[in-house]
């Protein structure tokens, strides 16, 4: 399983335009919607915001993974947003988030969904990955860095 194979270039936003949490999630969802696999946008946003209410998906070291399982999508949908300036996402270390992986999965693919979350977390631990991602200016560049990191 490869993030670079799963992530479509039209679902990558560089740089993110919004700076407020809910708007960032909506911007990422717009990007995810371009994959054509979101069948119910309202239900998808509700699921993501409901998950945020349980606790922020802003993690440490500039990474945020807004995620939810919902039958508002077909299979697994992944989007990526990059914010070189950083966004306050109520992260665990109180630092601004720069990389945003939005992940939605239908309830039938729980096993794969968990695997994808682990892949994202592992990718972010790689030295140099975050720094390289901060410098990207296009979706293609972002995709190439992920591809290289996975090799």
């Amino acid at each position: 399983m490869r993030l670079s194979a799963m992530l479509r270039r039209e679902a990558i936003v560089v740089p993110l335009q919004n700076t407020e949490k809910q708007l960032v999630i909506e911007e990422l969802l717009d990007a995810a919607q371009r994959t054509g696999r979101i069948v119910d946008r309202e239900k998808a946003i509700d699921a993501l915001l409901e998950r945020e209410r349980l606790g922020s998906t802003g993690l440490e070291k500039g990474l945020a993974i807004p995620h939810a399982r919902t039958n508002a999508v077909d299979g697994i949908v992944l989007a990526l947003g990059v914010s070189p300036a950083g966004i306050d996402f109520q992260s665990a270390d109180s630092e601004p988030c720069h990389l945003f992986f939005l992940l939605l999965a239908s309830e039938a693919v729980t096993g794969n969904y968990v695997q994808v979350l682990a892949l994202i977390a592992r990718l972010n631990l790689q030295s140099g990955f975050r720094r390289k991602m901060m410098d990207v200016t296009t979706a293609d560049e972002a995709l190439e860095i992920i591809r290289q990191a996975e090799e």
Binding site: M1, R2, R51, L54, G55, T57, L59, E60, I65, H67, A92, E107, T110, G111, V114, Q115, L117, A118, A121, R122, E150, E151
Partner: protein
Amino acid sequence: MQSDRLISKILLFTDGSEGSIYAAKYGIVLAKSTGAELKAIYVVNIDLLKQLERARIFVKVEELDYERDLEEDGRNYLRHITELAAHKGLRIETELLKGTVHKIAIQKVEEWDADLLIMGELEPILSRSDTFHDETELIFRKARCSVLVIKDSERIDKIYETLP
């Protein structure tokens, strides 16, 4: 204690993938033709769920929720394999386990004294990291008994279908 027969206890590892269902079909055919005992296992990857909770990707309620769903998935896969075996008049034992997938599977090989482990096709190894994180790859390399990796799904389907 292993018997003198070449194959007397076949352990089938399933992770719900398409490949592992073909492996199940092959295991059923092999058990029928050799008279070997067949047991299928599914391991809920609790370790991964706990890692995600420690990394704060999951909150506790999510971890428990996903654990319950993965258990249910595992039960469904094992039920499906039981039905595939029953369809060919074969009785199969199944077991739903929890923990670090490769460790539990390898432990089960030893506990049950399996002389053959059957599993679905492995994912291609594209990086060194895969050799540390791919659970089926780890089972393949670390299991102490012989391991049969099933390929050629079309042929397996035909063999299974023609089995009386």
